[in-house]
């Protein structure tokens, strides 16, 4: 026993802050949130156990829940591929023999750092204003742009474009991945007269698969968690006509505007499960399309 303590004490001591954080700020709250999801709780009265009522209400009668899911999935399905394609395309352009790569890299990455800030969300509202920069530019080409933010058919696209604008970090990860592909593969293909697009599908894509996979998982999780920009651009409500009712915005309003803490906890758990399922699917299917070069080690 004494030896056990002596051997383990340093490790546990260094982990002490994390242990506290893990139990008090992660595990505890997750379990508490699970419990609350089976109750009605308004922060004034004690939580009252109502069994599965929150969940049955959510899935059978709550139209806004389904709307929020629809908006969020729509956003994820559009913004993640758009961002990744943009990131990969630019990374490939930057990868081959340009001297000024550092400057471009910096310019393309900057929006990713700024993108989460409220200032940018405010800016985005003005860019897509009926008389904003975007419509002015379109007008220049004789196109009458819609009133992006008050039209439920177009409002989501402003956020997709905001997501595309922030392609910087997957781009940097792709760049690192492209560096790892041996040049002689391309040289050999060149000598054989393999056309460029074929080099792309036969060399770049397969060898980059682990990196693409990594980016895809990360960006999907990120996209599900989008909050600040949607909150600011939709005036905190998901307007117009709930077309910007992101799942997180809905959850926030249920919890901190209407103080339906029990119901909001149930919403939170559904979000957790959705993200877990997506991550799991990605991992389980990865063995069919991701091949790691050093698999044998």
């Amino acid at each position: 026993m004494k030896r056990f303590i002596a051997r383990n004490a340093p490790g546990y001591l260094f982990l002490l802050p994390w242990f506290l954080g893990f139990f008090l700020l992660a595990l505890g709250p997750i379990l508490a949130s699970l419990y609350l999801s089976f109750t009605r709780y308004d922060m004034v009265n004690a939580p009252r156990w109502i069994g599965f009522d929150n969940y049955t209400y959510m899935f059978t009668r709550d139209r806004r829940f389904w709307k929020a899911l629809e908006v969020t999935f729509h956003y994820v399905a559009l913004s993640v591929p758009a961002r990744l394609i943009m990131a990969l395309g630019v990374a490939m352009l930057l990868d081959k023999g340009l001297r000024s790569i550092g400057v471009y890299r910096a310019i393309f990455y900057l929006p990713s750092l700024l993108g989460a800030s409220i200032a940018i969300a405010i800016l985005w509202r003005q860019l897509f204003d009926a008389n904003g920069v975007v419509n002015q530019t379109l007008g220049y080409f004789g196109i009458a742009g819609p009133d992006w933010l008050t039209n439920p058919d177009t409002s989501l696209y402003t956020l997709v474009i905001l997501a595309m604008w922030q392609f910087g970090s997957p781009m940097l990860i792709f760049l690192a991945g492209l560096r790892g592909i041996p040049r002689d593969l391309y040289e050999a293909a060149e000598i054989d007269g393999t056309p460029r697009w074929r080099q792309f599908t036969r060399i770049t894509l397969p060898l980059l698969a682990p990196v693409i996979f990594f980016n895809l998982v990360l960006q999907t999780i990120e996209a599900f968690k989008t909050f600040s920009s949607a909150f600011i651009i939709s005036n905190g409500s998901g307007a117009p006509a709930d077309s910007l009712l992101f799942y997180t915005v809905y959850l926030f309003n249920e919890a901190f505007k209407f103080f339906r803490m029990g119901y909001a906890s149930a919403l939170a758990w559904v979000l957790l499960i959705i993200i877990a399922v997506f991550t799991a699917i990605a991992f389980f299917t990865s063995k069919y399309w991701v091949h790691y070069e050093n698999e044998r080690d």
Binding site: N8, L16, P111, I120, T248, A264
Partner: protein, 294 residues
């Protein structure tokens, strides 16, 4: 004779290819410049709108204001019930404390995971990695209830204390990656010399890990500075607002007349981030490439 012909053809081929490559490079540069312009245009527009007289902000695409109106900055600074000096001090307090908390607690945990041996290490490491995936929204409500009962709402404690408990797990992961690359012989030699684990952490691991610590410090500074959700929930009194919350107030009192001021304050709120980016670009780029964060 025939050989000469062959070299001539080869030479011509090489020349043509070089020419093609040069053209390709020019085309690439033109394209990248175009993309750069589109990427930066919104930011330049914001800057220019912050300097324009109100009637010029909308309805023209010119980036150059007819007259530079710096009043937007001076008036904007005092446009809200509290001056922006208060908001900047608040943001600075939260940010500095959070960065310190992140660096200490995350490097402790990372040191334990990367360099120390103890029962259950792999299990706890797996747990830690799992918490990376958990959306903040899931823990938000119970945390709020917890902090409310402690009487911490409307203080900075809910924003700062979790950072001293390594709640930004991401940085643990980042540091573990880095610590693992340092040669083990260093620890072993120090151990033989009778150094305690803390001494090894303090005198060997930390000094060698300045790049990783720098990356973590920069990212946590930027993320905390921009953080919106947690302050939105925990800070109700305008005197304790951070800069992002203050910016949102401009939207609430949306009178047509305040646009210039709102843009001016938006620009100022981005200045620290841009400045950090310009100064520490290398850290940031390397940090992302090696660990693959957001």
């Amino acid at each position: 004779m025939e050989l000469d012909e062959a070299t001539r053809v080869a030479h011509a081929f090489m020349l043509k290819r070089k020419q093609q490559e040069r053209n390709g490079r020019l085309l690439k540069h033109a394209f990248l410049l175009g993309v750069s312009f589109i990427m930066l245009y919104p930011l330049f527009w914001l800057l220019s709108a912050s300097l324009k007289p109100e009637n010029e902000i909308f309805g023209n695409l010119d980036l150059w204001p007819s007259t530079f109106k710096f009043d937007n900055y001076t008036a904007g600074w005092h446009a809200l019930p509290q001056s922006f000096s208060v908001f900047y001090v608040n943001s600075a307090i939260v940010t500095i404390l959070s960065v310190i908390g992140n660096l200490i607690s995350c490097s402790f945990a990372a040191y334990a995971f990367a360099r120390l041996r103890f029962t259950g290490r792999n299990f706890f490491f797996a747990l830690m990695m799992m918490t990376l995936m958990i959306p903040y929204h899931v823990v938000l409500i119970p945390q709020y209830v917890q902090f409310l009962q402690l009487g911490w709402v409307d203080t900075y404690l809910p924003l700062v204390v979790p950072r001293f408990l390594a709640s930004d797990t991401f940085f643990i992961f980042l540091m573990v990656q880095f610590f693992r690359q340092l040669p083990r012989e260093l620890d072993e030699a120090a151990m033989i010399d009778g150094c305690s684990p803390f001494k090894i952490y303090w005198a060997i691991i930390l000094p060698l890990s300045l790049p990783a610590m720098g990356t973590a410090a920069i990212f946590s500074m930027i993320w905390v500075w921009e953080d919106f959700l947690a302050p939105l929930i925990y800070l109700n009194d305008i005197k304790s607002y951070t800069v992002p919350l203050a910016l949102r107030l401009f939207l609430d009192q949306e009178g047509q007349s305040a646009y210039g001021q709102m843009f001016a304050m938006s620009v100022l709120s981005l200045v620290p981030v841009v400045l950090f980016f310009l100064l520490f670009q290398k850290f940031i780029v390397r940090g992302i490439a090696t660990s693959g964060m957001k």
